[in-house]
Amino acid sequence: MGNEEAVFFSRVLTETTLSFHIIYATIGVGVPLMIMIAQWVGIRKNDEHYILLARRWARGFVITVAVGVVTGTAIGLQLSLLWPNFMELAGNVIALPLFMETFAFFFEAIFLGIYLYTWDRFENQKKHLLLLIPVALGAMFSAVFITIVNAFMNAPRGFDIVNGELVNISPLLAMFNPAMPTKVAHVVVTAFMTAAFILAAIAAFRLLRGSDHVYHKKALLLTMKVGFIFSIGAAIIGDFSGKYLAEYQPEKLAAAEWHFETTDKAELILMGVLTKDNEVKYALKIPYGLSILAANNPFAEVKGLDQFPEDEVPPLYIHYLFNLMVFIGMWMAFLSAVFLIGKWKEWNFIASKWFRWLIVLGAPLSLLAIEFGWWFAEVGRQPWILRDLMKVSEAATTSDQVDSMLILFCLLYLVLGVGSVVVLRRMFRHNTVEKELEDRHAMRGRDVR
């Protein structure tokens, strides 16, 4: 296998692993917060439905966390196996957050074990809830630290290169690079948002499938509220991300926006197609839109692709990834807003079948948005693995066996994906909410006697 093939297969394998892992990782970061909120509301209102909600979410969460952990281990090792040259350089400058991530992960793992096995062990429910805080924090900080490494790849800082040698290394400067604040905030907030909408979809689905239990209605309202708040957060941070890109990675923004010539009063292009001569057709154009996104000023100049050498421009299809991510985010914010206003104004249609189906559809859409976002982030950095420093093609392994490993890992993800779905379905289908509530009442009745 030539080097080009090794690079190609390394890219495909990394992309496959990340695309699979990110589903479970996003759930893993977002769901602990949701469990925490539900349990807290349950304790405060003394409402067993919310407590049961937390309990059932926690049970499902273990399955997704297991897949998240093992695929996370896979990507952790694959970074060194597939990109040894990159990791050698990165190890020198950005190893610190990677190392911190293992501690966050450790912390989460320990307390998740304790939390799961101490339901009802404490007289005071609040003590049990306290155990969940380190789980949620550990999960969140795992995401924070890993995203810092990704931010560094986009905006490497904290070192100088003199005669091909790394000097003046500052691990903290490397961590707090310009890409870090927006990137980290965006990843964490969208994880919360996605988790909320996935759980909302489950509640809506149960309501559609004949269970009219108030438990599911409470679940739906709670998750839609949380989802709405974080979707607004995601939109605000998304706006800041646009400004970051305009300042530090203008070629990524220009490629995502099909902005070919440097102009002021730049328009925002939505969807459309590109002809052979890079002419934009059938697009929706918002005047001044791009200038506002880039600089909060409709007359601001925005750098176009004409400012960059052709071999340093990312593939132009990222335009669609970027647009679709934003559309889905906006749509979910809108949908949850309508639901909440509808609750308040007592509109009947929010309890109708079609509206509930829209909420169900929100789960796959939200996950798709996460995928689009990461593909945009990674493809948009091409051809660099470390912007302006190391190209992807220079970073890859020279091993001949990447293609066969790709097949093996695809099989693995198939087994894990199917396995987790089958197990989750089985867990909850046989043990419905109605049945579990009855069992619990029966048990409590026995205790009293």
Binding site: R55, A58, V62, I63, V65, A66, V67, V69, V70, T71, T73, A74, G76, L77, S80, L81, L82, W83, P84, N85, M87, E88, L89, G91, N92, A95, L96, L98, F99, M100, T102, F105, F106, F107, A109, I110, L112, G113, Y115, L116, Y117, T118, W119, D120, R121, P171, T397, T398, S399, Q401, V402, M405, L408, F409, L412, L416, G419, S420, V423, R426
Partner: protein, 341 residues
Amino acid sequence: MNLEILGITVLWTFLFGYIMVGAIDFGAGFFNAYSVITGKQRVLTKVIQRYLSPVWEITNVFLVFFFVGIIGFFPKTAFYYGTTLLVPVSFGVILLAIRGSYYAFETYGSRGHKGYSFMYGLAGILIPASLSIVLTISEGGFIEIIGGNPVLDYWKLFTSPLTWSIVVLSISATLYISAVFLTWYANKARDVEATGLLRRYALTWSLPTMIAAGGIIVELRRHQPEHYNNIQNFWPMFVISLLLFIGTVILLYTKRQYGWAFTMLAGQFAFAFYGYGASHYPYLLYPYLTIYDSFTNPAMAISLIVVFILGLCLLIPSLILVMRLFLFDKDYVSGKGDYHA
């Protein structure tokens, strides 16, 4: 002590931690699967699952800690080991993934599912075998530099008796460590039947472990004389290790003090493991890579160590809490309280 030695000692300690908790974990999964086939599930499964359930994820973190740490402290290892280990480590990762997820599927999803129990039992026992290959490769002789890139010679690797002795040791040690620990745990749970069975497993695997370990030292003499000679300098450590081994076996045989038996076993492996590690010094990979020429810059090293110390301040209390709740809590161990979500 310089930073290089401090770094490798920390990493070696975590690797030792992984080997111990991993062995208990993987061995337990295997015994569980084995008891399903032989119809002894009734005897073993309960005690094994009581131990495994809350800790499986923690085990995995020890490994992650080790490989993230080694890239941090010794970034050049990424180049040498990363390029050459693609196949063996990928197999290890796949096994780990099957093991971890199917364990969770069985435990939290469908309790008692035979297929799942099988899958994670089998995957678990193969993990030490596939990961131990890394130790074999570190002895040198299997990697050549061709055109500036390190290349692994598979034929040589898989026809070397050293490789297979290490594989045999990793499997038998896994079963031995696990059986001794579980004997103690079952005894604590006052489960007489399980204690008896596990004690028998422990005695069965004691001798093969020792023979395989001895075999490795003999193989090493031929394969890597430099390392072999270094081992001689650390002979007291290996003698202590042997004495502790004999102590464990005597206690098991006479059915006394299982707690001490496990403590001595941990000591036996610690002395052998650190003796082996110390004699490997200064090489990370014979003859290309030492801890000195692969070490990171001082700024990174110091910040890693600071983070490590801060991290330990969080971890040690949490680990003590876990042990108090699940390892030393009589009600939990004997199965009086089941508080699973």
